[in-house]
């Protein structure tokens, strides 16, 4: 399970990055959507309010036209005219009072002395209005002035609008609207002034006005289809709800989604639009579920992949430890075979030639077997990075000599003679087993592949803390392009030479790994004929005190 934490971490990191990216994207999409929806709603609201506004404007215009026409028929001088006016007032559901003044400012209607009680109140309330000529001049639109602390007769000039109407009898009228605040009510006046300066003003019954407006606005049935899950509300200047329509129940205190002030003369009345938020939340939930579902699928996939990989590694690890286990198991019987063979050899008398020879074979083969097992174990140790060096004081030449002696028999069999130039006779600290392993592998190779060369030369040297052991054979050699590859595990130069020769192909790879662990290396020197392996070891360090009592 080596390096497992790293892989796990990497996988988790990758997963989190993907999910994070997805989440961010979803969030962005959501935001975008919200903006889009907000825009849509905005335009929808705009159009709704526009529609309502248009309706109201049309109504007012229509009313103005009507009043103008009515005013044409007024005659303030004759008795009939007065009757007509009274009648008109009585009949009109909308007009509350009519006031008229002649060009000099003298009141023409209600006639002096002929006022009703209500009219008297009205006249009293509006007395100051009539005195102010400025109010009845058609002007451009003025800025809204609103004075909340209205005194009894305060005025709020809301807007004046210039309107030129040309009548059929060529009488030109100026007209306008005036909003004024009485003690307890807001009133709207529509005034007309003819070319001579005669003033006619209409005061309206507000409830009726409001009701007329409301009647022209869509009712619940129409609105539900149009507004969806929203509502519209008409409020006056005191935020009193005059009218409300739509399915959504407006909660007090919530801000409207949009509003518009009405055109004059109801300039400080508002049309407000409210809607439910759940349009947004609906889509949001769906998206969240999608994201959640996808994330879950992704997580499951990653868990599966992780498990698969863990299993693969566990399997590999098991196989490796099996190999290890077996190799160690092999060591005990092998130890016994060799030890008892050697003991037996000691029991034989010198003249039992054949017995000696047979025993030599048994011993030799068990030694070889031991080397193979050691190779396999080293190979797996190298894979696991578990090679350790045990330096002990010794003489390199002695170690090399021992190896050559061990190989003496089989070298003789292969008709190979060894020349040993021993120039590493000082005592240094090195790992004898390691050097033996390396030499065993090199000599075994020489035996297998270079026996036709008849000769092997071994040359040891010591120089500045480095030991150099050259093993040269005179066989067919290794082609230049294969030279780096021969150190790869399992790689064997394929040729007629190697076919049929037993070997695992791990010998050189192990030898080089070992040499490198010992602070050195193995390289191939250009030689012709044959092949020369140079083993270098670092022998400069201080040896382990524990074994030097």
């Amino acid at each position: 399970m080596y390096r497992q934490p790293k892989v796990t971490l990497l996988l988790v990191l990758l997963l989190m990055m993907i999910l994070g990216g997805l989440g961010w994207l979803t969030y962005q999409m959501q935001k975008n959507d919200a903006i889009v929806v907000a825009h849509q709603q905005q335009s929808f609201i705009e159009s709704q309010i526009q529609t309502a506004e248009t309706t109201i404007t049309a109504y007012i215009q229509q009313m103005e036209v009507q009043l103008l026409a009515d005013a044409q028929r007024f005659n303030f001088h004759s008795e009939e005219g007065q009757h007509y006016l009274r009648d008109y007032l009585r009949r009109s559901p909308l007009v509350n009072f009519i006031y008229s003044a002649d060009p000099e400012g003298k009141r023409a209607f209600p006639r002096q002395g002929a006022e009703s009680n209500h009219e008297r109140v009205f006249l009293r309330q509006t007395r100051e209005l009539w005195l102010d000529d400025e109010l009845f001049v058609a002007k451009q639109a003025e800025v809204l002035e609103y004075s909340p602390k209205a005194s009894r007769y305060s005025l709020a000039r809301v807007n004046s609008r210039q309107q030129n109407t040309v009548t059929s009898s060529d009488r030109k009228f100026d007209s306008g609207w005036l909003n004024w605040y009485g003690a307890d009510r807001q009133a709207h006046l529509f005034w007309l002034k003819d070319g001579d300066g005669r003033l006619i003003a209409f005061d309206f019954l507000l409830p009726r006005l409001v009701s007329d407006i409301i009647n022209r606005l869509p009712d619940d049935r129409d609105v539900s289809a149009l507004l969806g899950r929203g509502s519209m509300r008409l409020v006056d200047d005191r935020n009193t709800t005059l009218y409300q329509w739509g399915r959504y129940r407006i909660v007090d205190g919530t801000a409207s989604a949009g509003y518009r002030y009405l055109p004059q003369p109801f300039r400080n009345w508002k049309l407000e639009y409210y809607h439910q938020d759940d349009i947004r939340s609906g889509a949001w939930l769906q998206r969240l579920l999608t994201f959640g579902g996808f994330s879950l699928a992704l997580i499951l996939l990653f868990i599966y992949l992780y498990k698969e990989q863990t299993r693969a590694i566990a399997d590999a690890s098991q196989r490796v430890s099996f190999v290890n286990q077996v190799s160690h198991e092999l060591k005990t019987p092998l130890t016994n075979v060799r030890m008892y063979a050697e003991l037996l050899e000691g029991e034989l008398s010198s003249d039992e030639q054949k017995s000696h020879k047979y025993l030599a074979v048994i011993i030799g083969e068990s030694v070889r077997l031991g080397r193979l097992i050691e190779n396999v174990l080293n190979f797996s140790r190298i894979q696991k990075d578990k090679i350790t060096i045990n330096r002990k004081p010794g003489v390199i030449d002695h170690c090399v000599k021992r190896c050559l002696e061990t190989f003496a028999e089989s070298l003789k069999k292969n008709d190979l003679t060894v020349t040993f130039i021993a120039e590493a006779q000082q005592e240094v600290a090195f790992d004898q087993d390691l050097l033996e392993q390396i030499l065993n592998n090199l000599l075994s190779n020489a035996e297998k592949y270079a026996f036709d060369g008849k000769k092997i030369e071994v040359h040891t040297q010591l120089n500045a803390g480095r030991a150099r052991i050259a093993v040269r054979d005179f066989g067919k050699g290794i082609p230049k392009n294969e030279r780096s590859r021969v150190f790869e595990p399992f790689y064997r130069v394929s040729s007629k030479l190697t076919e049929g020769v037993s070997g695992t192909g791990i010998g050189l790879s192990i030898a080089r790994s070992l040499a490198r662990q010992h602070g050195g290396n193995i390289s191939i020197l250009d030689q012709d004929p044959g092949c020369c392996f140079i083993v270098e070891l670092d022998v400069s360090t201080v040896y382990n005190e524990a074994l030097n009592r």
Partner: protein, 242 residues
Amino acid sequence: MNVLIAEDDLLIREGLRDLLENEGYRCTLAENGQVALNLFAERTFDLILLDIMMPEKDGYSVCRVIRQSDQVIPVIFITAKSEEIDQVLGLELGADDYIMKPFGTREVVARIRAVTRRTLQFRGGQGSQAASPAAGKAFTMADLHIYPDELRAQRNGQIIELSLRDIKILQLLVSHCNKVVTRDMLFNECWGRDYLPSSRTLDQHISKLRKTIELDAKAPVIIHTIHGVGYRYNSSALLAPG
């Protein structure tokens, strides 16, 4: 010298015993760590061979316990894995050496002799004569110089390695210079009362010893055969071969 061999594999245990007895050591066997500790408590040993992987108590634990009461006694570990060696060194158990399976007999013998040398020299230095009959001054036989404490002999600069028993045999022959040393004497002195070696064993050993120290084993100068009785060393050997 007494050796304690603690190893759980029967064959290895007995093989090592045979090997060391040939060398001249008296061996006591233990099949697990606990038995080894019990034996260590009951008797004195000059050397301990410890397998690491053993039932009851492993080699490390045994060594630790031994070291609590004895800092001096040499301990050699028998290991199967190099990881075990690292542990041995790492734990600083005071091991003298280790041998790794699969080992050759020559390797074992070399290490045992090395440890024996150190022990003999240490004791020689301490002036204690008690438990080592092999301790002694150097002596000469013909042109051979023998150094008992080093388990070595030398002739003209050439070094010959000898076993404990070999030294004892030579010491016996030299101390009875010009006199016959009987088979029984050899058995008693050089093999010990616990053994009942056959005549063949003795002759074989002498024969091997000759191959080691004589210039020509077939015409021995140092160890002469006295047929039917025993062997003899003649101080005038240089002059009268045969």
